[in-house]
C-alpha cells in the first residue's frame, strides 16, 4: 500500500449544529474525528471495539458507538455529542442535572456515554418501562458506581423532562 497515495474522502457532517467539512483517511474512526478533528474531547474512548459504550454519540438521532463507525460513513450525518447538551455557562441539560443531583458518576469516564444513551432513550421513549431502561443502559459499562445511581438519575431525568414538557 505504501507506494500509493493514501485516499482522502471528503465528508460534510453537522456536529452539535455546526457544519464541518473535512478530508479524512478511510480508516479514521468517527470517535477520533470527533476528538481530534472537531476538537470535542467530551466523547471518551474506552475499549475501541464496541463493548463499553463510552464513545456513544447520537447519529441522526440514534445512539451509536462512534468507535464502530468510520468518519467516511458519517458523511451527511447530524451528530450530537455531550458538548451539545448545554452551552458553557448555561444551565445544564435536564439529563446532566439529574446525573449531578443523583451522583450518577464517580470518576466520570463513562459519563458522557451514559448521558447520550439516556438522552436518546428519553427522546424516543419519554416513559420507558424498567425493561426498556435496563436494555438501553446495559449497553454502557461503568467501573465505579455500581449503576444504582445511574438508574436513579435516568428516572429523575425522565421526571424533569416530563415537567419541562408540561410547562
Amino acid at each position: 500500500m505504501s507506494e500509493h497515495a493514501v485516499q482522502q474522502v471528503p465528508i460534510r457532517v453537522t456536529v452539535n449544529g455546526r457544519e464541518l467539512a473535512a478530508e479524512v483517511e478511510p480508516r479514521l474512526l468517527l470517535s477520533d474525528f470527533i476528538r481530534h478533528h472537531a476538537g470535542l474531547t467530551g466523547t471518551h474512548v474506552g475499549c475501541e471495539h464496541g463493548v463499553c459504550g463510552a464513545c456513544t454519540v447520537l447519529v441522526d438521532g440514534a445512539p451509536q458507538r462512534s468507535c464502530l463507525v468510520f468518519a467516511a460513513q458519517a458523511d451527511g450525518a447530524e451528530i450530537r455529542t455531550v458538548e451539545g447538551l448545554a452551552e458553557p455557562g448555561a444551565p445544564l441539560h435536564p439529563v446532566q442535572q439529574a446525573f449531578h443531583e443523583e451522583h450518577g458518576m464517580q470518576c466520570g469516564f463513562c459519563t458522557s456515554g451514559f448521558l447520550m444513551t439516556t438522552v436518546a432513550l428519553l427522546e424516543e421513549t419519554p416513559h420507558p418501562s424498567d425493561e426498556q431502561l435496563v436494555d438501553a443502559l446495559s449497553g454502557n459499562l461503568c467501573r465505579c458506581t455500581g449503576y444504582r445511581n445511574i438508574v436513579a438519575a435516568a428516572r429523575s431525568a425522565e421526571r424533569k423532562l416530563a415537567e419541562a414538557g408540561d410547562e
Binding site: 480508516r27 475501541e48 471495539h49 464496541g50 464502530l68 436518546a120
Partner: protein, 293 residues
C-alpha cells in the same frame, strides 16, 4: 487498536458495487452496519484492501410487505428499523422478540439484519430465526440473482454459501399466520451478550385447535450452525403439546445435538440448557397458538 489502511467506496448503483466486489485481485469486503466488521478491523483480525459501503444503494434499503404476505428486508435495513416496524405494524412477533435479544439499542441502531445473517455467528439470534421461519435469501452476484433457502444458507462457523463476489441482497420472511404460536428463549451470561444457547419454536394448530398440525424447533449456540430438530418436530405433530408430550421429546433434543466445550460452558451444560430452553419455547408456542382459521 486502529484499523490498517484500506480504500473506501460507497457507490450508488448496485451494478457498480457488484462490479467492484467481483475483483479477484483485491481483498474486497462489504460493510453494512460495521458492528461485527469494525471491531475485527480495529483488532486487525480483518484487513481488507477495499471496503465497499452498501449504504448509498437505495434499492438495498427496502423493507416491504409482498402481495403474498411475505416480508422482505433489504441489505441495509437495520435491526432497530425492522424491530420498530414489527412493533408498530404487527406480525412475526418471534422475530421482534429475537431482535430485542441482540446486543443493545446502540448496536441495533446500526447493525443490519442481513449483516448478521451473512456474518453467521453460530450464537447469533437471526440465523436461527431465519431457519425456523423458512426465510429465503436473495443472493446477488456477477451472474445475477439466486434464491437460497435459509436451511441451506449457513454452512459452518462464520461461513455461508455466499461465494466471493456475492452479496446478500435481501432476506424474505414468508407470511405469518395470525393463529401461529411462538416461543423464544435464550440464556446469556449478561443482558445483551451473545447467547450460550437459544431456542426458537413455532406451533400451528389444526382447525379444531386440539393438536399441533405443524411444529418448528431450531436451536442456536449448540453447533456450527442453527440446528433444526426435525425429529422433535415430527414426534410432536398431530398431538396436543401437553406436559407428557413435551417430556417425551427431552431425550430427542439431547441426542440430536452435539455441542462443544469452550471457555464459556461445557458441552454437558449446553446440552442440559438446550433441553430446558427447547421445552420452554415449545410450551410458550403451544400456549400462544390458536385454532387455524
Amino acid at each position: 487498536m486502529k484499523p490498517a489502511s484500506f480504500e473506501y467506496r460507497a457507490p450508488e448503483q448496485l451494478d457498480e458495487l457488484l462490479e467492484l466486489l467481483a475483483d479477484d485481485f483485491t481483498d474486497v469486503r462489504v460493510i453494512a452496519g460495521g458492528q461485527s466488521l469494525v471491531p475485527m478491523m480495529n483488532f486487525r483480525l480483518s484487513t481488507p484492501e477495499l471496503l465497499l459501503d452498501l449504504r448509498r444503494v437505495d434499492e438495498l434499503g427496502a423493507l416491504e410487505h409482498r402481495p403474498d404476505g411475505a416480508l422482505s428486508v433489504g441489505a441495509t435495513v437495520t435491526q432497530a428499523r425492522l424491530l420498530r416496524q414489527l412493533e408498530q405494524q404487527g406480525g412475526w412477533p418471534v422475530l421482534a422478540e429475537g431482535i430485542r435479544h441482540i446486543g443493545h439499542p446502540q448496536i441495533r441502531s446500526r447493525g443490519t439484519v442481513c449483516g448478521s445473517l451473512a456474518h453467521h455467528d453460530p450464537t447469533a439470534e437471526l440465523p436461527a430465526l431465519a431457519v425456523a421461519l423458512d426465510a429465503r435469501m436473495t443472493v446477488a452476484g456477477p451472474q445475477g440473482r439466486r434464491t437460497v433457502a435459509a436451511a441451506d444458507f449457513f454452512t459452518t462457523y462464520y461461513e455461508t454459501v455466499l461465494e466471493p463476489g456475492e452479496l446478500l441482497a435481501e432476506v424474505v420472511f414468508p407470511a405469518w399466520p395470525a393463529a401461529r404460536g411462538w416461543g423464544f428463549r435464550e440464556l446469556a451470561r449478561r443482558r445483551g451478550d451473545f447467547a450460550l444457547v437459544g431456542a426458537v419454536a413455532t406451533v400451528d394448530r389444526d382447525a379444531a385447535g386440539a393438536t399441533a398440525e405443524a411444529v418448528a424447533l431450531v436451536l442456536f449456540g449448540v453447533g456450527e450452525r442453527p440446528v433444526r430438530l426435525g425429529g422433535v418436530e415430527q414426534a410432536l405433530a398431530g398431538k396436543p403439546l401437553d406436559a407428557a408430550a413435551l417430556a417425551s421429546v427431552e431425550p430427542l433434543v439431547a441426542e440430536a445435538i452435539d455441542p462443544v466445550d469452550d471457555l464459556h460452558a461445557s458441552a454437558d451444560y449446553r446440552r442440559e440448557i438446550a433441553v430446558q430452553l427447547s421445552v420452554g419455547a415449545l410450551a410458550d408456542a403451544w400456549e400462544r397458538s390458536s385454532a387455524r382459521v
